[in-house]
């Protein structure tokens, strides 16, 4: 198939950036979206242009490195699918495809389609862990965990940290990401001891990193390639409110 590609180019954080249009012929519908970009890049190389930069690594939908807003949608048109797992048979011959980076104040652009998502790491560093020194753990079966809690924790832990939630939110809020990590740990008995400290610290770091407020638009969950539920945002709001109250009274 043949495609018209409108691609965002930007030479660095300071550069203004602009769209560039390229035509690409002979795209196989069995190729993935990123393989299509590989093909475009080979063409650009032949033409003597610098290839387009984009982030990617595992190409199997699990590392969370790939990003891209495709025709206005984070990770493109297919539900529950990362860009690297999106295949060209979802597009039609002759179509114009617009490709932009994940845009958010807290995700500065590095170059072209590559953005800096280290704010997510900082939120995790603030409290997205259970304090347990290596070697100090009790037997794995010492604390039974109800299957239901464990399953819900796993649903939240499935987050790949790609940032689609932020990119698709009008306010560029990181609530879905933050609530998924907090929810995963708070649901488990092992994570209970640090629950209050965790949610207060993570939310504070999220606010400091320049993410916007959550207004419950729900675009985040719709764009999430792992279908993380909005329920975790509600849970984080509850846990956060309770932690604030307890902090005042202790």
């Amino acid at each position: 198939m043949k495609l018209i590609l409108r691609v965002w180019r930007q030479d660095g954080a300071e550069d203004e950036g602009r769209f560039e249009t390229h035509q690409l012929d002979g795209v196989s519908e069995d190729s993935s979206f990123l393989e299509m970009l590989d093909q475009l890049n080979e063409q650009l190389l032949e033409e003597g242009t610098e290839p387009i930069l984009f982030d990617h690594d595992c190409r199997e939908g699990i590392c969370g490195t790939c990003s891209l807003t495709i025709n206005g949608l984070a990770h493109g048109p297919e539900d529950s699918t990362t860009t690297c797992q999106l295949h060209m048979r979802k597009f039609s011959d002759g179509e114009t495809v617009t490709i932009e980076p994940f845009r958010a104040r807290a995700f500065p652009i590095v170059r072209d389609l590559v953005v800096d998502r280290s704010a997510f790491d900082r939120i995790t560093q603030a409290g997205g862990y259970i304090t347990v020194r290596t070697g100090s753990a009790p037997d794995g079966n010492a604390i039974p965990v109800p299957k239901d809690d464990s399953d819900k924790a796993m649903d939240a832990a499935a987050c790949i940290g790609c940032g689609a939630c932020v990119a698709s939110c009008k306010n560029a809020s990181a609530m879905l990401f933050t609530s998924a990590k907090a929810g995963h740990l708070n649901l488990l008995p092992q994570g209970k001891a640090e629950k209050d400290k965790r949610v207060l610290a993570m939310v504070e770091e999220m606010d400091n990193s320049g993410f916007g407020n959550c207004r419950n638009y729900g675009e985040c969950s719709a764009a999430c390639p792992k279908d993380i539920s909005l329920d975790y945002i509600a849970k984080l709001n509850r846990d956060h409110a309770a932690a604030k109250v307890r902090k005042i009274f202790t």
Binding site: S31, P51, D57, R59, S118, G140, A157, A158, L188
Partner: protein, 638 residues
């Protein structure tokens, strides 16, 4: 080359205890005087960096991705072994030890494997305490599944995302140490060389991939936890960025490289669809529990709709050849059988490189809903990639490079032949011999990082004393200069071929001659072709842009350059190992009915390669493997 394995004295089961007791300790107050570099943030690197920091060492940790959470350990699906015997089905440390040595076709070191089995139980405890949401039974206790090559249920799992959850556990421990400042994390940094001063590893040179800056980092010890080299085949189940650069550069600086020809091919991957293909995707091996593997009996049926081929015209070749293991035959055997069928012209799908994995029987026996519940996400992934519905039409699968057992040679302390340079995880060669069992790589990475290296490094540091050298010292500057020259050379490449095109060609050579079946003339041919490829690369490579900012073509060119040299080493190793064992199948050494013939008399050793200089043939050394606790036996799965 000194290959003293430093296996501690005493009975197998006491060795690790004895060793810990006799190891020197670093006084807690002195730990902060030491600086340790950890390259890699996967299961091995992430767990090591976090644990060393907990102990009080200053740690610099590096990864090439934009976050430590994205290391390729994240992609592991199936599970992690632990000899907990929670199922009361007769498992024990000794059984896990035995299964691993046997599964490795008797080419691993007994003492290391035993220790791995011992600490496997601690790993599970540690991960549970970190909040890893392992699958549970209704009573709230941990669930297990069984995995290829074992008769007990000892695999712990978190849906189909075990690697992700274990890595996120290690990443959370690492994050905690980053927040205290005990670990300085350097993302988008690629290690391009190792600094060795007076025979000891004292630092590394990195390139900041975002800014292009090359920089020297010095420390008292360097840990290489940089993963496997499967991408030497271009197409593999590895991530695009996985590379051999860190370990290959250490090899060039004097670290012995062991058994590079031991590579694992996974039988159930989605076949290559066309020329655009950039990587291969694994379909969990668990599918073989319910799927039946077959190809048409007659080549002329290969183009037909599989549903129109009658039972009588199908060859369920695994069930036919291995009646007792059937579709669950081990990875190497299943892979080779698929290749054989395709070589006979009976393969299906694009290029005739695929076999069917058919769920029709299971669906009619158990109902579609059961199959959907068991494998729904895999069927979905298959459909996303191929556009085909595997509930209605058999899946097509084909083997692909998946894991590399070879790696930097390490002694019992996980130290390479360069004192102060350690290798952990898939980057070392230690525990899996010639073939790795499913669910054992995650176990090994975490064993090395949480429970082994933190002790053994203490012993090294206590004996050598603190003494970080200055990044401005002449020895460091010299290595730095050589790295800059190499980068400059690449950025001034003005030819007409992309690094990708070389990588692809290298992959074709490797897959053809050093893939599932190897023979001497083929390997010799491969070495010649690789040498020609290198000349072509040096003349005709094209790298656009400069080295002073993010430049993916430059990154790839550097990695491919090292893969080319390394590919030659792999072929050389395969050529010299004149036997078939585990993942290494030499066509000259097989029984009449096509089974691998091991040669214990001449090859019960690890082959360790020593770099002898640019353009020179490397030297092959041996570490003889002694088996005092298991009897060498023929691995039979008939």
């Amino acid at each position: 080359m000194n290959l003293d394995s430093k296996i501690p004295e005493g009975p197998l089961s006491d060795k690790w205890d004895n060793h810990r007791f006799s190891s020197k300790l670093v006084n807690p107050a002195n730990k902060r005087k030491y600086r340790v570099i950890v390259v890699g943030s996967g299961l091995a690197g992430g767990s090591a960096a976090a644990t060393l920091a907990e102990l009080g060492y200053n740690v610099d940790c590096f990864c090439y991705q934009d976050s430590p959470r994205r290391a390729h350990s994240i992609a592991a699906q199936g599970g992690i072994n632990g000899a907990k015997n929670y199922q009361n089905d007769g498992d024990s440390i000794h059984r896990l030890f035995y299964d691993t040595v046997k599964g490795g076709d008797f080419r691993s070191r007994e003492a290391n494997v035993y220790r791995l089995a011992q600490v496997s139980t601690n790993i599970i405890d540690q991960c549970v305490a970190q909040g890893v949401p392992f699958a549970r039974e209704y009573g709230g206790l941990l669930a297990n599944r069984s995995f290829g090559g074992a008769q007990v249920s000892r695999t712990f799992y978190a849906r189909g995302q075990t690697g992700q959850q274990l890595l996120l556990g290690a990443y959370s421990a690492l994050s905690r140490q980053i927040s205290t400042g005990q670990v300085k994390m350097h993302t988008r940094h690629e290690m391009l060389d190792l600094v060795v001063v007076d025979g000891h590893a004292k630092g590394i040179i990195t390139r900041n991939l975002a800014t292009g800056e090359t920089k020297a980092w010095t420390a008292d010890a360097v840990l290489l936890c940089t993963g496997g080299y499967g991408n030497v085949y271009y197409l593999s189940t590895n991530a695009i960025g996985c590379n051999v650069t860190a370990t290959y550069r250490a090899y060039r600086r004097g670290a012995g490289f062991a058994n590079p020809c031991f590579t694992q091919i996974h039988p159930t991957c989605i076949p290559v669809a066309g020329d655009h293909q950039s990587k291969l995707t694994l379909m969990s091996e668990s599918l073989r529990n319910d799927g039946r593997v077959w190809v048409p009996k007659k080549a002329e049926d290969c183009g037909k709709n599989p549903n129109d081929i009658p039972e009588a015209d199908r060859d369920y070749y695994l069930e036919r050849k291995y009646p007792s293991f059937g579709n669950l035959a081990p990875r190497d055997i299943s892979s080779r059988s698929a290749k054989e069928a395709c070589d006979e012209g009976r393969g299906v799908g694009p290029g005739g490189r695929g076999v069917y994995l058919d769920f029709a029987d299971a669906i009619s026996r158990l109902g579609e809903s059961v199959i959907r519940e068991r494998y729904g996400n895999l069927f979905q992934m298959y459909e996303r990639i191929t556009g085909e519905n595997a509930y209605q039409r058999p899946m097509r699968i084909y083997p692909a490079i998946h894991y590399t057992m070879g790696g930097l040679w390490v002694d019992y302390n996980l130290m390479t032949t360069i004192p102060g340079c350690f290798a952990l995880g898939e980057a070392n060669f230690s525990d899996h011999g010639a073939n790795r069992l499913g669910a054992s790589a995650l176990m090994q990475g975490l064993s090395d990082g949480y429970f082994v290296a933190p002790y053994t490094i203490g012993n090294y540091l206590a004996n050598s004393g603190a003494g970080t050298i200055s990044p401005d010292s002449p020895e460091v500057k010299e290595v730095m200069e050589s790295v800059r020259e190499r980068v400059d050379q690449l950025t001034s490449s003005n030819g007409n071929r992309s690094a990708r095109s070389y990588h692809k060609q290298l992959g074709q050579i490797m897959w053809e001659y050093a893939g599932m079946a190897r023979n001497a003339p083929g390997l010799e041919k491969a070495i010649g072709e690789i040498q020609e490829l290198r000349d072509d690369f040096n003349k005709n490579l094209l790298v656009p842009g400069t080295g002073s900012n993010l430049n993916a073509e430059l990154e790839r060119a550097g990695r491919v350059r090292d893969f080319i040299d390394f590919g030659e080493l792999l072929c050389r190793d395969a050529l010299e190992r004149k036997e078939s064992c585990g993942g290494h199948f030499r066509e000259e050494y097989q029984t009449e009915d096509g089974e691998a013939t091991r040669d214990d008399e001449n090859f019960a050793h690890a082959a360790v390669w020593e770099y002898k200089g640019e353009g020179k043939t490397p030297a092959r050394h041996k570490e003889e493997l002694k088996y005092d606790n298991v009897k060498l036996a023929v691995r039979s799965y008939k």
